[in-house]
Symmetry: C2
Subunit: 418 residues, 2 copies
């Protein structure tokens, strides 16, 4: 496992971040420190501590998957997001799991489902930290074309068809979909495609049971007001389900608390729970109590509304700066996200954006601005992966810094092109 885990792009990225600390960072995928709810966390903790018994309970072990009492609070929250009448309301608590961020949940289900050599299909591009997890379990990762509406069900279907023709269908165990405001592209899977992706997965579950892992990390980070039903919601309850759902409070509340939620199909409950128990006996019970407290008090919901305003301003600042500084550069395009933390930009195909490219050197050494090279978001074994893209984050910087960062980046691009 150590050998498989050892080629981590994220480690290199973090190192670059440290080495280029004098740059304006459009690279860091962090939330804005100014929005972190110090007062709300403190208030919640005081209220918990003032009931001594509750304070003691929260400082004691919980349960490996989270106590039933807390899981019921998190289920209420998911039910509210799904909307009235959702089957979420009836979900057995045993199928919910509280983890150390959603990242740990992604790792646990991958460990439970995938043997070395098994195949996982992902959108191209997709979340690079999950590509690291897949490398860690020794999975083969294949890219599925995605566009403005997310992963393309037709492309998914034809890849599965191709794998069947190669007698490799039995190796396919998992399809990974970031369903809302994807990292890196900001794109959501359209409402029309959600059931289509699920149907495709069910249709091709012939030689092995194929799971669809729905990563809804950015679900609550929508700045346009329109909310889509989860892919999870399109599946009827049964003993043999396909969709695994995960969400996190790292974007909408605090990454330092590391509270994530997962919803498991019935047939995965025992195995994932066993692996979780082995791993750490359960994530921090104290933190689960803090998040449950703000969910119940309404402080969380009010905080998320204020986040929307703050990030909408920053997203708009980045898009306005893109218009201002990149419109006159030929063959530069970018997507306009309705949520999340990222703008995904493509340069002329002749311009490499990778860590060793002239552009990265120009940007970090001369113009003092840093981005994340697009190559990181594709399976490392995919030879045709594009090399001319960048992930630009409006998470950490304020509107003025974003404007300045985009200006610097455009200057770097122009310098390299000319």
């Amino acid at each position: 496992m150590a050998q498989r885990a050892s080629t981590q792009a994220i480690g290199f990225l973090m190192q670059q971040g440290l080495e280029n600390a004098d740059c304006l960072s459009l690279a860091a995928g962090f939330v804005d420190p100014a929005t972190l709810p110090v007062d709300l966390a403190q208030k919640a903790i005081s209220e918990i501590a003032n009931q001594t018994a509750q304070g003691q309970i929260s400082l004691q072990y919980g349960a490996p998957s989270g106590s039933d009492q807390l899981r019921a609070v998190f289920r209420d929250h998911l039910t509210q997001l799904e909307g009235p009448g959702s089957k979420m309301q009836e979900l057995p608590l045993s199928r919910m799991m509280l983890t150390t961020g959603s990242q740990q949940f992604l790792t646990l289900v991958s460990q439970a489902i995938l043997n070395p050599g098994d195949i996982c299909l992902v959108a191209a591009p997709t979340y690079f930290a999950y590509l690291g997890v897949l490398d860690g379990v020794g999975a083969e990762v294949l890219p599925i074309a995605a566009d403005n509406n997310g992963m393309d069900p037709a492309a998914l279907n034809s890849t599965l068809e191709q794998l069947a023709a190669e007698n490799r269908l039995h190796k396919v165990k998992l399809v990974y979909v970031v369903s809302y405001h994807d990292n890196p592209s900001g794109v959501s899977v359209s409402e029309e495609r959600r059931p289509q992706l699920l149907d495709c997965v069910k249709r091709w579950s012939k030689e092995s049971h194929i799971f669809l892992l729905e990563d809804a990390a950015y679900r609550e980070m929508n700045y346009s007001g329109e909310t889509l039903p989860s892919i999870w919601s399109f599946e009827e309850a049964s003993h043999n389900e396909h969709v695994i759902l995960t969400q996190t409070f790292s974007k909408s509340f605090s990454p330092g608390l590391r509270v994530g939620i997962g919803v498991l199909p019935p047939q995965l409950v025992n195995s994932v729970t066993d692996i979780k128990s082995n791993e750490d006996f359960g994530s921090a019970h104290f933190n689960q109590n803090v998040v449950a407290h703000v969910l119940k008090s309404g402080d969380y919901q009010r905080h998320v509304k204020s986040l929307h305003t703050a990030y909408r301003i920053k997203r708009d600042a980045m898009l306005a700066a893109a218009d201002e500084f990149f419109s006159d550069i030929p063959e530069v395009t970018w997507l306009k996200p309705e949520g999340g933390l990222y703008v995904w930009m493509s340069l002329p195909s002749s311009i490499s954006t990778s860590f060793k490219s002239p552009l990265f050197r120009q940007a970090t050494e001369v113009n003092k601005v840093m981005y994340v090279p697009g190559r990181l978001f594709y399976p490392s074994t995919w030879e045709q992966r594009p090399d001319n893209q960048m992930r630009l984050s409006y998470g950490v910087l304020n509107a003025e810094q974003i404007h300045d960062g985009m200006k610097r980046l455009a200057e770097a691009v122009k310098a390299v092109i000319s």
Copy 2:
């Protein structure tokens, strides 16, 4: 991994705990809720939150292994435990890792070191949750005789000799030692044996590098005042070390915060850090800040002193009750621990203590008291493992309940013997 993780004794034990909720529990290996530092945690959090920037930082991501600033605080703490002049003072921070309790650290290093089929040697008896981790990674687990002075270096040597004769020495990768007030036996490895165990591991590192994993979870839970140097302290610094050290704040402060520390040999830093990054990007930064704060303020050290008083009273209550109720039962013996949370008791060899035994049924159904069967603390593949032992915990109950629980248990034993 799911299949390997699926035979968890701890799960069965927790289920028994739930089913026998009307029993006095000498089984639960938890700390006393009355000792949990609600006020200290709240005070620390207020002080952190009152410096807004510090509050925001603590709610942000840390680093996968913990930030350098925090790791320096935890290194200071370990240095203080090791005593003046310890090489701990000079430890590069990159070799320290902050984890979700020490349990996660145990899992991460096991994943890094052990392939399926590799051999790990453990004391007999030893900590059952770690046996679950070893099953999870597919290791072969062999028992090494232990007595009042902990794991026996001569027995370790002869097992390694035997494995060499069988051409299996190259499979041996790890020796696991709970060095202070072991769970379940309460025994510490004697000062004399500490360097002997290390020497033995080094001497037999011929065909593979054998690591010694020192689990010092109960190091700070010593009620007699005498402190021993860690096994780790006996090794000279080099690029190719053997001892891995781990400790936790789950016993001495709060399990609900899930803060553990590990010290890695240089050659394991990259692999364990990569696996940790994949797993969760780092444990809760907020909680690491809380523990670092109480370490710096001195509140932690004062709290640990008060714990010693509280647990000494409870340990004495259990030993007094053992004298009072078990002295007249032939062939019953028990160890007298100087720390930890447990008393380890042996019954006549004809009396089974396992979950399905007449004694367990008598104790839980008639006398309403629960213990942990000793079999759980031996490798499940070891056919000769003793079946007549019990782990009795004085962690959760108060002195009066402990007295009552021991009385009930003696009645159950007498009922089964007669």
